[in-house]
């Protein structure tokens, strides 16, 4: 992007250090959450023991718990949270709809559909295998949604926000309906599906974060490139075009980023819809609508939300645990409502 696109006409230059301060606070919050996530768990370990485990000097069991269970899980939670937060902010920006979540592009529905197909018809049950199917399903669904929405969009440049949103809803619902019809026929895939759809970080391959990390990284890069363009699109498509922006290209870029981010998150952790929906709103309360600040804060906030919910899920029913997807909304909703009631609303 050129220097001109970095400060597009019409977007406010951030006042002073405030947005930077917000990013700083978000980073600190995420670090605290990561530390908590490594320290707290079913096995009671003191911070000293955890440190010994991290450095590999503690008892074998401690080292195993910390290095093989807690650290991978924490990294995965952070990765999933960042991906969903940024994808949600992009989705809300592109559809200009506060109800949009990353799943709106058909990502979750597609992932769930191909997952059930893989289990039911191809007999694939290994976690490593199903992740790839979930990812492929997410990608295919979002390509389908984008293609259909483009056909129905304005002639000049890609889908309009409304056609994108509606095409996404229609395709998602269709896939979910077919999935649940498939699942009702077969108990074993019903079981797999209902646990997958609750959204969880436990029981994952410790390689899961490595599996998705490249895709998330690529998605984040695309999102960063897309951010200034998204600010201009917020002025309306005609204005954006008048300012010399290629609307269709910006949309395609955004959709690619959302697919990579949300697709990889959903493929490993299931449809954790609340993060993608709410993290951008929370971030917007503090940063305002400028996507260059909104996207990073939404990502950091999303990761913090996921990790905190995961820690709470481990604490409430010890030694068992609640899936993170379940805890998230129950813990996050009251917080979010309090925020909505107190703050002046930052509209899209």
């Amino acid at each position: 992007m050129t220097a001109l696109a970095d400060r597009p006409a019409g977007t406010r230059v951030p006042r002073g250090r405030r947005p930077a301060l917000v990013v700083g606070i978000a980073v600190v919050a995420l670090l605290v959450a990561m530390v908590l996530s490594v320290v707290v768990g079913a096995a009671l370990l003191s911070p000293v023991q955890v440190w010994a485990g991290l450095t590999g000097t503690g008892a074998d069991q401690t080292v195993a718990i910390v290095q093989d269970l807690r650290v991978p899980r924490t990294l995965l939670g952070a990765l999933v949270g960042i991906a969903l937060g940024v994808a949600g902010a992009l989705m809300q920006g592109h559809t200009r709809n506060p109800l949009a979540d990353p799943g709106l592009l058909g990502v979750s529905a597609g992932a769930g559909f191909l997952l059930v197909v893989a289990i039911q018809f191809l007999g694939i049950t290994s976690l490593y295998g199903t992740v790839w199917f979930g990812f492929a399903g997410a990608g295919l669904a979002s390509v389908l949604v984008f293609a259909l929405a483009s056909l129905g969009g304005s002639r000049a440049g890609g889908p309009t926000p409304v056609t994108l949103a509606l095409a996404g809803v229609a395709v998602s619902e269709l896939l979910i309906a077919i999935t649940s019809a498939l699942v009702l026929r077969d108990t074993s895939s019903l079981d797999a599906y209902r646990f997958w759809s609750a959204g969880a970080l436990d029981d994952k391959d410790s390689l899961a974060s490595l599996q998705i990390a490249p895709f998330v990284l690529a998605g984040l890069v695309l999102a960063a490139i897309n951010a200034p363009g998204l600010n201009v699109l917020a002025l309306g498509e005609d204005t954006a075009r008048g300012l010399g922006h290629h609307v269709g290209r910006a949309r395609a870029l955004g959709i690619a980023a959302i697919t990579l981010l949300a697709g990889s998150a959903v493929a490993v952790a299931g449809p954790i819809s609340f993060v993608g929906l709410v993290a951008p709103h929370i971030a917007r309360f503090f940063t305002g609508p400028d996507h260059r600040w909104l996207l990073p804060v939404a990502g950091l906030g999303g990761a913090t939300l996921v990790l905190v919910a995961d820690v709470v899920g481990r604490l409430v029913v010890r030694p068992g645990e609640l899936q993170v997807g379940i805890v998230l909304a129950v813990v996050g909703a009251p917080f979010f409502i309090a925020l909505v009631r107190r703050r002046k609303l930052a509209r899209l």
Partner: protein, 358 residues
């Protein structure tokens, strides 16, 4: 925006008591065609089954004649199911049209007001908790689940309303609070679903997809009553809805009490959706998609009310017909409404290149 400008140059307005409106030939035409299709599909649906009855005979029975044995099958066994489907569909379509118009968002539906997810939570709880612990005989019985669903829908919607109310009811705040409350309800439902045993989970999942199986007159009456009250009320509120669409300031200028009008519309939408969900389970897609389909067919700037009600009824009854004749009873009607409705919306989206605001 140009809309059906070919048909009329200046539209005639009309007034009948508290109802005012503009005559839109195309909207009326769409509504009439939908109504005719609805009657046809319903008649075919009534004839289909293990004991097929020709459509002409069905019509004769409905008009009061026909063979007594056939009449028994049609009126006692099959009519309740079809009527429940039609009433539930109409209530959902209307509720969706009202919600989308009042918050000015095409993705909104009564789900956003917490109704559907609250209803689902209470209903699932009535199956899983009562079934698991064997506590309450009432809650496990088929009567218990609809009542639990109705209560859940109304409680959740009231919660959303109370939490969103802050010096008036702001549409955007309503959406955000609705998202939060619905998500929390969905999470708790998922928790119950995961902690249930697999038979209960299957049963619950079937309910959660919406079903019209084994409906009797007990289901028809509440759905019919709420529709009989809700539809006229919605039509009376239509003028205020049109004013709200112009923005709060403009609506105030037109003499509409914005908060009261919005509360009224939301209230009607909530009750319609809650009763519909109690009768047939959460048939989610109808309230979201039917108003958008009818909007694209009829033209105009917001979803038509009567048209959406008729369209919802048609979609649900047609889906029931497809489910019963093509796919077999095992597939819940909620699945089929999506399979029938989603491709049609996609077709309309692809065919139309015009842009819409709502």
């Amino acid at each position: 925006m140009r809309e059906a400008g070919v048909l009329t140059t200046a539209r005639r307005g009309f007034r009948a008591g508290p109802v005012t409106g503009v005559w839109r030939t195309r909207a009326v035409l769409v509504a009439v065609v939908t109504a005719v299709l609805l009657v046809l599909v319903a008649a075919v649906n009534l004839g289909r089954g293990d004991f097929p009855i020709p459509v002409t005979e069905v019509v004769r029975i409905l008009l009061g004649g026909g063979d007594p044995a056939d009449a028994y099958i049609v009126t006692e066994l099959r009519l309740p199911r079809t009527l429940t489907g039609a009433f539930v569909g109409a209530a959902l379509g209307l509720s969706g049209a009202l919600t989308q118009a009042v918050v000015r968002n095409p993705l909104a539906s009564p789900d956003i007001l917490g109704v559907t997810d609250g209803a689902s939570l209470f209903a699932v709880a009535s199956v899983v908790l009562a079934g698991g612990a064997g506590v309450s005989g009432l809650a496990v019985s088929p009567v218990g689940t609809p009542i639990a669903a109705l209560a859940g829908g109304l409680v959740a919607a009231a919660l959303v309303y109370v939490l969103a109310y802050r010096q008036g009811l702001d549409g955007f705040r309503l959406l955000l609070v609705g998202i939060a409350v619905s998500s929390a309800a969905v999470s708790l439902t998922t928790y119950l679903l995961v902690s249930a045993n697999v038979q209960q989970a299957g049963q619950v999942l079937t309910w959660l997809r919406g079903s019209l199986a084994s409906r009797s007159w007990e289901n028809v009456v509440p759905a019919g009553l709420v529709l009989a009250v809700g539809l006229p009320l919605a039509i009376v509120l239509a003028f205020r809805l049109a004013a709200l669409e112009l923005g709060d300031e403009a609506a105030r200028g037109l003499g509409v009490r914005v908060d009261r009008a919005r509360a009224g519309v939301v209230g009607v939408a909530v009750v319609l959706a809650a009763v519909a969900t109690a009768c047939a389970g959460p048939i989610r897609f109808v309230a979201l998609v039917v108003p958008q389909i009818m909007l694209r067919l009829s033209g105009g700037s917001r979803p038509p009310l009567v048209g959406s009600a008729l369209g919802g009824a048609l979609l649900v009854v047609a889906a029931d017909l497809v489910a019963r004749t093509v796919l077999g009873e095992a597939v819940p009607v909620g699945v089929v409404t999506v399979v029938v409705g989603a491709p049609y919306l996609l077709y309309l989206l692809v065919r139309r290149t015009r842009r819409r605001t709502v």
